[in-house]
Amino acid sequence: MSPDHSSPGAGHAAQDRAAGHATFLGMLPFPEAAERAVGDSQLRHNLRMATRTIRHKREEVVGELDDWSALRAAGKAVKDRTLRHLDTYLERLEAAVTAAGGRVHWAADAAEANEIVTGLVRATGETDVVKVKSMATQEIELNEALAQAGIIAYETDLAELIVQLSDDLPSHILVPAIHRNRAEIREIFRDRMAAWGVAAPEGLGDDPRALAEAARVHLRERFLRSRVAISGANFAVADTGTMVVLESEGNGRMCLTLPQTLISVVGIEKVVPTWSDLEVFLQLLPRSSTGERMNPYTSTWTGVAPGDGPQEFHLVLLDNGRSDVLADEVGRQALRCIRCSACLNICPVYERTGGHAYGSVYPGPIGAILTPQLRGTASAQEASLPYASSLCGACYEVCPVAIDIPEVLVHLREEVAASPGHRAEKAAMGAAGWVLGGERRLGAAQRAASAARSVVPRRMPGPASAWTDTRDIPEIPEESFRAWWRREGAAEPAPGADPAEPGRSGGDEEGGRR
């Protein structure tokens, strides 16, 4: 296929598009963003269908393995051990990559990483690069940085392509366009493909096969022309300096093998010590992620091989807040994440809000604990994320590396609650703590509530309306349990037993008196 399939001026249009790319900056706090999403019935339908399908697939293939819990424990242990000695393994990785003919660059933050990558691309003289799906480059907004330097990054993962063409934001770790259905995708292809390269064929339907074929034709031309590729990596093996990418479509394999220069941006937590450690994750990841026993493509490469594949390889090791996360004893478990997205697919909150409400490339339960740790909780948006969960624990249950997400959420809530602000809540919690701090105070509060039981309205004004807008409040009983117990409960002895003790005091100075 020849480049003249593309419409005239496609390069310029793409550059304009790329420069104006949507961003997660300045997003609304979670509750407000979620309110919009919950009201979008099309979105809820798309998400419900997609998450349920993948959830069931995962459950089935995980259920096939008798040793799943042992594998999960092994995955957790390998990651924990690696994170404990991260500096050692990173140095080992650097030495191995260098020995294999690659070059290693260290980036402390997003700006540094973007600068390094931009410089590397510029040095090749190219202005187009192809990209393998990568969370790290999304995190640092690499495409936008490249666009500012006049370099266009072309996403080649099908779902990333859909997001890029529609100037949208990813809403899922694995399936960034999960919020779109087939009809919407057809529209996007029909209206936008031409501006980025090969146009969609006339009369494109919304049959998945036709859509995939349109993407294939659009992308193939791009693969053949591009001389620079940018990727991330799922794992980096320290012992041998080998990068590992798991994928389903084969686009990654094209990007990783066809171009002359390959640049991989990899978070420092992606390192695993050895190939036998890698083995554990190659079992955990596909089953948790796409619900497959094995993913269709696993690409591994070690430095450069003369005459075979890219002749120049750069590894950019990205910190961007990870060292801070590592310093937090409770929060550091988030660095075990292998980005499988099982926690998103099972999450009842994610299912109803979608990913955009989380205001980050990392949505869902993992995003709710990772984003506030990477970016801090100073702004209202990040501070709202630890509360974006009912703490139901489904995420923890499915996580292949046993990240106790509810534990970290509560830990981050502590951090937010301790910050200035939250005054009304602090006062309310303090008052509740005082009432519950003594049984006599609690008893008095209960009697006051019972006395007012007939005048409590069904719908309440102010903050309480958050409950009463959609739910009735329970009727307040005439007397509390403890009042009943004092009146008559304690008096009925068990058959053949001593009369029940009137109760013991547990440290409250008013204990036992009424």
């Binding site: 979670f30 509360y387 919690m429 519950l436 009983p477 117990w485 036992g512």
Partner: protein
């Protein structure tokens, strides 16, 4: 056996009928119930909302109040889970509180655990002639891992018609302050749960946690769905002579 009842603050204040049912049930089974009056709250609300210090104070009170008990019954799955799962996180490792909490934790039970594991009974001689569906609740399911215990107890109730609940493992959307802080998402979750409950055709929704029942029940009542919400204790306490009132 002498069983110390930790009624929990929500049951104490809003659902005394659950407490009375527990007392009736255990006495019928020949056990003694004591109610240490110094008890107030396990601290779950404070802990989950990020108020650790307040939660710690309540944990101290709980541990002191129940330290000598042979068995503690918390007729609320999430409160039992709070003591067993979260108290270790609240205490400085190796502290006096930590040791006392660890020592007490294995003796703290949810109702179905107490009956099945400690008292070794699955047929409590109950009678409840109604169609019932059971919501397992997140903490009962994932933290306490109650598994089939509640079902075994329910299946042995005479007259009961037990219906399976679609999507039972999914959260009802309560989550304590989550229901207020993220009211829209919470309400959407509750609406889906209520729809699944109504679809069973059951007259009664049962659970081991009144907080979840308050949330789902509040939604069902607002929809005038005609489904009553009843704690497991009330079904198990119900007999031909003293049937539960719906």
């Amino acid at each position: 056996m002498r069983i110390a009842l930790f009624i929990t603050c929500v049951n104490d204040t809003l659902y005394p009928r659950t407490g009375r049912a527990v007392v009736r049930l255990l006495r019928r089974l020949g056990h003694e119930v004591v109610f240490p009056e110094a008890q107030t709250c396990c601290g779950q609300l404070h802990y989950n909302t990020g108020y650790r210090r307040e939660a710690q104070k309540l944990a101290v009170r709980f541990v002191e109040t129940f330290a000598d008990a042979d068995a503690v019954l918390a007729p609320s799955g999430s409160c039992a889970a709070m003591v067993r799962d979260n108290y270790p996180r609240l205490c400085a490792p190796g502290s006096r509180l930590d040791r006392a909490a660890a020592e007490l934790a294995p003796r703290v039970h949810d109702l179905s655990e107490l009956l099945v594991d400690v008292l070794g009974v699955t047929d409590v001689g109950a009678y409840f002639p109604h169609t019932v569906t059971y919501h397992p609740t997140c903490h009962g399911l994932r933290l306490l891992k109650l598994r089939d215990r509640p079902y075994r107890l329910l299946r042995n109730v005479r007259g009961i018609d037990l219906r399976e609940l679609e999507g039972s493992a999914e959260c009802c959307g309560f989550g304590g302050t989550f229901a207020m802080k993220n009211a829209d998402v919470s309400a959407a979750m509750a609406a889906d749960k209520a729809r699944n409950v109504a679809a069973t055709g059951a007259e009664v929704l049962c659970a081991v946690d009144n907080s979840c029942l308050m949330h789902i029940g509040g939604t069902l009542r607002r929809q005038r769905a005609g489904v009553a919400t009843v704690h497991l204790a009330e079904i198990l306490a119900s007999t031909e002579q003293e049937p539960a009132r719906l």
